[in-house]
Symmetry: C2
Subunit: 145 residues, 2 copies
DNA sequence: GTGTTTGCAAAGTGTTTGCAATTTA
DNA sequence: TAAATTGCAAACACTTTGCAAACAC
């Protein structure tokens, strides 16, 4: 008995519509990735990690397709990118306004609810520019040994 | 004796001591880079940009040395890295507590004084981790045409 | 002299792209 | 069948590294 009983009859219910709404054909690869990403609680993934995960589920998806899909999902508003590392891209399924802890030792991201932190007095923007987003990252080290 | 004069007679005055204090030999390459970085107002650079700049000054420094030097300076507390792009590293000569505007259209960083923005109510950290830094990035698009 | 630093070129990492083959509608 | 999507392998951008030659003290 697995914990996925409630999904086993119509495993892609909802997800198919979600992809269609985004104008993306519900292909085998996109469905597998979307299911990993959107079935369950919010997640933070890198392309490599998501690729490993989908492979472990015995679904063959190329790494190139994982990259393409992550960007399509981002463009469609299903994901957002979180910049915390100058060497790799992270994606977040939580599209609501919030911030992050980033553990520099293990590369793990954790959400911070917007109520848990307050940012006030946003300064005047440089001439002729418009604010597209505010990112707050609390960098921590886990130093766990 | 003080090293307060920034005139052209002793172009490296101060910088040499600064490198020595950091335990770094004042080589031709390090002096040239340090001068570009620390003579004048605070700056934000990428490795490529700094390399171009030093080359324009007719000082031959390899890109590998620029990378190595940026990291040595960072380790020594002369620079800090600012993470705003998942594809390249930015370095900031301003070591005091402050935040940034990042223009996503032209890759330009601008400092925000800590008084111009207030962050309150930092949440409890995950179990067993310690805060190493708080980064606030206001992403803007210049959309200048 | 001796240990440090440099430059080169090669290697490494993460990511994107061109295009033929495959799949979807 | 027409258009979208995939996978591969090659190309890319940025960064790091091994090592012999050059340099600083």
């Amino acid at each position: 008995m697995t914990s996925m009983d409630m999904n086993s009859e119509r495993p892609y219910a909802g997800i198919i519509e979600r992809l269609k709404e985004a104008g993306l054909r519900p292909t085998r690869q996109r469905l597998a990735l979307a299911r990993i990403l959107f079935d369950g609680p919010d997640r933070h993934v890198t392309a490599e990690a998501l690729h490993s995960e989908v492979m472990e589920a015995n679904i063959r998806v190329s790494l190139a397709t994982v990259y393409n899909t992550l960007h399509q999902f981002t463009r469609s508003g299903l994901l957002r990118e979180v910049v915390v590392d100058s060497g790799r891209a992270y994606f977040d399924t939580n599209m609501s306004d919030h911030h992050h802890f980033f553990d520099e030792d293990n590369g793990r991201l954790t959400d911070i609810a917007p109520d848990d932190i307050t940012l006030s007095g946003v300064p005047t923007l440089p001439e002729g520019s418009k604010l597209s987003r505010v990112d707050v990252v609390l960098r921590v080290s886990s130093a766990d040994k």
